[in-house]
């Protein structure tokens, strides 16, 4: 009898014990980052400082330009067109994707431009945009907007086409108007796709921001990159690059958090269980 109880206890404990034996995600990520930094730090100093840099040198350079406030002023300058362009892309890309996905005629009329626009070699068009919008704030917003619009729009569009027909029929069977079906059934059902598009767009918007700063008025973080590269100060050049990558990671997790808040059912119905 005692034997049986003991075995049952053991069995009941297994899943918890299993979870304990598994490393938490954050620990694995930290370990991975630490390892990469360590290897980089180990090899970096043997390379000519013009051709490469390494973590401790970059950290020193970071301290140098952050102490003088130069880095933060540049970041502030860069973030302004970034925020405007990125949010404009969300504000236009999501509704556009929704209607193109929902209405046949719009799909046929506009779908082709969206598909083509995604592949548009934007860098090549920057000179033209400068002719239209000048060298200042507006052209930077335009470049960031155009780069982030398409992933958001296409993802929304794909999401709409993946909405189960049966859910739309629920709306129809209760005599819901097209607008109600779009806003109260299609939009919430598409949310996970929309959020994925918004996350994809972060990376593109960051790239666009730097591209805009290179090709229009040299300013912000892009200016630090160009100026330090011209001075062969590679360590300083890496500072904004690393900062931008960190910013993208931060934004990405923020959006993920937001997604879990606005679409909590998604995590429940789709398997987040990984091997």
């Amino acid at each position: 009898m005692a034997d049986i109880t003991e075995r049952l206890d053991e069995k009941a404990d297994t899943p918890a014990a299993d979870a304990k034996r598994r490393l938490p995600r954050s620990a694995i990520t930290t370990l991975s980052v630490a390892l990469v930094l360590l290897i980089w730090e180990g090899f970096g100093p043997y390379i000519n400082p013009v051709f490469g840099s390494y973590p401790s040198a970059i950290a020193m350079a970071f301290w140098e330009i952050s102490r003088t406030g130069k880095l933060w002023a540049a970041l502030y300058e860069s973030l302004q067109p970034f925020v405007v362009g990125y949010f404009l892309a969300i504000a236009i890309g999501v509704p556009l994707g929704l209607i193109v996905g929902r209405f046949r005629t719009l799909d046929a009329a506009l779908g082709i431009y969206i598909t083509a626009g995604y592949a548009m070699p934007l860098v090549a068009l920057v000179p033209l945009l400068i002719l239209w919008l000048g060298l200042g704030f507006k052209v930077k917003v335009a470049v960031i907007f155009l780069m982030s619009l398409f992933p958001i729009c296409i993802n929304t569009w794909v999401g709409v086409t993946a909405v189960p027909k049966s859910l739309i029929e629920v709306g129809k069977s209760f005599v819901a108007s097209n607008t109600v079906i779009l806003l109260r059934i299609v939009l919430p059902a598409t949310l996970p796709y929309i959020m994925a598009g918004i996350r994809l767009a972060v990376g593109r918007a960051v790239v666009a921001m730097v591209v805009a700063e290179f090709f229009t008025t040299i300013s912000g973080l892009g200016a630090i990159i160009i100026n330090s590269a011209n001075n062969f100060d590679t360590a300083t050049m890496f500072v904004p690059i690393v900062l931008l990558m960190l910013m993208a990671i931060g934004l990405n997790s923020l959006i993920l958090l937001f997604e879990r808040r606005v679409a909590p059912w998604q995590a429940e119905i789709s398997g987040r269980d990984k091997e």
Partner: protein
Amino acid sequence: MGEINIVDLSKNFTLTVDGKTQTVQALNRLSFTVRESEVVALIGPSGCGKTTALRIAMGLESASGGKVTVDGREVKGCGHDRGMVFQHAELLPWLTAMQNVMFGLEMKGMRGQPLHETAMQYLDLVGLKDSYHRRPYQLSGGMQQRVGIARALAIDPTVLLMDEPFGALDAQTREDLQEELLKIHARTHKTILFVTHDLDESVLLADRVVVMQHGRLQEIIPVPLPRPRNDLAALRGSQEFAETRYKIWRALHAAGSTVH
């Protein structure tokens, strides 16, 4: 109120198979009537057109020929006079049980206090008053279908159309819900037309069973079990149950029913 007339109903689908266009006849001049407050089961092998007939009656699909009328008015699309219960409940996953029931009511134009009260009243009717704030993924399959039934009933339609409503549930839950539906029918006297492939279910719930084969009407079999049908276990053991079930089985296995 609540008489459904299906008159000469036909439906053709075009399919493209290997680049060739084929026309498939899903319904071929189907005619029958569901009387006021009556419960009618549509039964037949898969592909016989029973779901198509129901969807046309709901207004989710159009007929190629013939028509469906509800209380004399021809069906030309969905309407609040008909409530649909889907096979897999089809609740909106981002809404709570209560909000799902409210959705249909809001589409009917109800707002404010009556909206909440009516939704709660129908959740209570299906025994889910205490789970009103749960979302679909927090409900079992049987509970989800209860919400689906509440959502359809809440708009107070004159007829209830159900597409294999209990087909996706386990045997025990199915029996619970069958009993529940009989109780609801005894209280509301709604006209109910439901699709099923379950012989027992058709006999237990329906007043008449419409057997379909290849898009046509095969036979209409009346169920002589008296109402109210409270004790389903006793009914299952009765002579009438066995005989009716056998009649339907024979109609289903009549000549020409080899395609499944």
